[in-house]
């Protein structure tokens, strides 16, 4: 319960902190104790099996899924096959109502009336993303996430040349904006956030044709390239926060095994939300095996990046069943 509260608080913007010794399990303490000299650390690093890095197994699978899902929307309409009708804000999947949790929330706040179809659509999507990991929506489905990943590599390349610099924001920004957008919808009676949501804009543009609104998305991406790495997903998007809240209790997690970690920090370098990987810092893990926090998008970049396989996907309960 404490871990769950902690992961939620870190998602809202609190900085992860180093645990006191009395907060660590004896096993975690023992593991830390055997790493407290430089020689011991070097020996441990030597002993851990190294493998070739630079693999993109999960990234490639994820991109394939993301493109396939968005293509399904487009092709269903183009060829009238009626598999996935609508856009990411709300759709019908082989006839069943699906509604994006955040779009549905904005509509409920603005409209103040909830139709049964919307309840059905929202519950279905809630159940689905609870099973699949919450923010996995972001990395496995959201089209903005994909284009932002591509422009992120541009940002990193330019930053490597010294031409641009990342300007991190306080992560609490997203929490404050979440509240503001909710209040604005309720107060004005308009779905204010949808006006700037690049997810809705892109999803509709794919299916129904390009709009001038896409320029806003390009501006956001440009800002991420020249000013702040992954700015929208990290510090602004309330959709990510909504799905993150679902992810707090999701059985699908990325899990960390401290025994296999030599704390090189490769995972944190590639992560969209590195605060969830704080436990990979030497001495930061309270237990030997830990779940990565709610804000994690289950994208698998860290799993690909880890040279010693200390991180992997786990579906709670399923491993016991098999």
């Amino acid at each position: 319960m404490g871990a769950m509260f902690d992961s939620f608080a870190v998602m809202l913007g609190r900085e992860p902190r180093m645990p006191r010794r009395d907060e660590m399990t004896p096993a975690a303490c023992d593991l830390l104790a055997c790493q407290n000299t430089a020689e011991a650390k070097a020996e441990r690093k030597e002993n851990l099996t190294h493998r070739v890095t630079g693999r993109h197994k999960w990234r490639n699978r994820r991109w394939a899924v993301l493109i396939a899902v968005n293509l399904l929307f487009v092709l269903s309409f183009r060829f009238d096959v009626q598999l996935v009708e609508g856009a990411l804000t709300a759709s019908r999947v082989i006839g069943f109502h699906f509604a994006d949790l955040n779009s549905a929330l904005q509509v409920m706040l603005a409209f103040k009336t909830v139709l049964i179809n919307l309840v059905i659509g929202t519950s279905t999507v809630l159940a689905m993303w609870w099973l699949l990991g919450g923010r996995s929506f972001c990395s496995w489905v959201c089209p903005y996430h994909l284009v932002a990943e591509w422009t992120e590599s541009l940002h990193l390349w330019l930053a490597g040349k010294g031409w641009v610099k990342d300007h991190p924001l306080h992560r609490g920004t997203r929490t404050v904006l979440y509240v503001i957008f909710a209040l604005l919808a309720a107060a004005t009676g308009y779905t204010v956030f949808e006006f700037i949501s690049p997810v809705g804009i892109l999803s509709r543009a794919f299916t129904y044709g390009a709009t001038i609104a896409v320029i806003w998305v390009v501006l956001l991406l440009l800002l991420e390239v020249v000013y702040s790495r992954r700015m929208w997903c990290r510090y602004v998007c309330p959709i990510g926060m909504t799905y993150g809240a679902v992810g707090v209790v999701s059985p699908l997690k990325v899990t960390f095994d401290a025994e296999k970690c030599w704390h090189g920090g490769e995972c944190r370098k590639v992560c969209l939300v590195p605060h969830v990987l704080h436990m990979t810092v030497l001495g930061a893990n309270t237990d030997v095996r830990m779940d990565v926090g709610a804000d994690c998008t289950r994208c698998g970049l860290c799993i690909d990046a880890c040279p010693t396989d200390a991180l992997r996907y786990e579906f709670k309960g399923l491993s016991k069943l098999i």
């Binding site: 609508g86 659509g121 991190p168 609490g172 404050v176 204010v192 006006f195």
Partner: protein, 250 residues
């Protein structure tokens, strides 16, 4: 500073202060951008003809989830989604009646059935109950019937792509208007193609039986579907729909 320091978790360093400051600036920018969407709405830059069953405009903008499912089910492809210049109307459906009107080809108000949020209200059961607006003869002087003129050829020229379901041609499939030329002694297209019974009629303009001239008169049964605006063969339509218009109680 104590609140800020608690937010940042412990003592606030200058680096953390900068992070908070950037958060405030970017956050304010995002809120400002999102609020800009209200300007076109308040000024009513464009008044759109909404699909059948649409709630009153303000409620409609609140209730619509901007998914376009109504677009997908329309058999004559009459529904389009608004762009960013319409503010909070971004992603909401409208019918550009002159290009493609709703002619109730679907028979069952498919767009209403498709709507997941009730922005197109499910309270309607028949096309006769729809109220999208009211047809109005805005250019009476160019109306062919009022000049006693007939009409020959395709209503909107050969290149026109709009669709209409002609019951006498095919009960189930709408066809291009361009493929259905007319030969009329007196133009009565608005009355002839109106999908609603007793919504519009041609009335004599004088007591003289030899006077061929007739004027279109819109009745209270009009649902504002836009079929008359679409089919009107003059260069600019003599008759158009006034979106959201209601008959006054009097």
């Amino acid at each position: 500073m104590s609140v800020l320091s608690r937010l940042a978790g412990g003592g606030v360093t200058s680096q953390q202060r900068r992070k908070i400051l950037r958060g405030v600036v970017v956050g304010a920018t995002m809120v400002a951008a999102s609020l800009a969407g209200i300007v076109p709405v308040l000024d009513r830059w464009v008044k759109r003809l909404r699909p059948p069953g649409a709630l009153p405009e303000d409620e409609f903008l609140a209730a619509c989830i901007k998914c376009g499912q109504c677009v997908q089910v329309c058999p004559v492809k009459a529904i389009f989604l608004s762009d960013v210049d319409e503010g909070y109307g971004l992603g909401t459906p409208y019918i550009p009646a002159r290009d493609q009107a709703c002619d109730f080809s679907c028979d069952a108000l498919q767009c209403i059935l498709a709507c997941p949020t009730g922005a197109l209200t499910h309270a309607l059961n028949a096309k006769e109950e729809v109220r999208m607006g009211i047809a109005r003869l805005v250019e009476p002087e160019i109306c062919l019937a009022r000049q006693g003129l007939g009409f020959t050829g395709p209503a909107r020229g050969p290149g026109y792509t709009g669709l209409h379901r002609y019951m006498e041609v095919d009960r189930w499939t709408p066809i291009p208007i361009a493929d259905h030329p007319y030969d009329l002694e007196l133009c009565d297209l608005c009355v002839r193609e109106c999908p609603i019974k007793d919504a519009i009629s041609l009335e004599p303009m004088s007591d003289d039986p030899a006077d061929k001239r007739r004027t279109p008169v819109v009745h209270q049964a009009c649902v504002g579907c836009g079929m008359c605006e679409m089919i009107c063969p003059t260069d600019i339509p003599a008759i158009v729909i006034v979106p959201g218009e209601k008959w006054s109680a009097a």
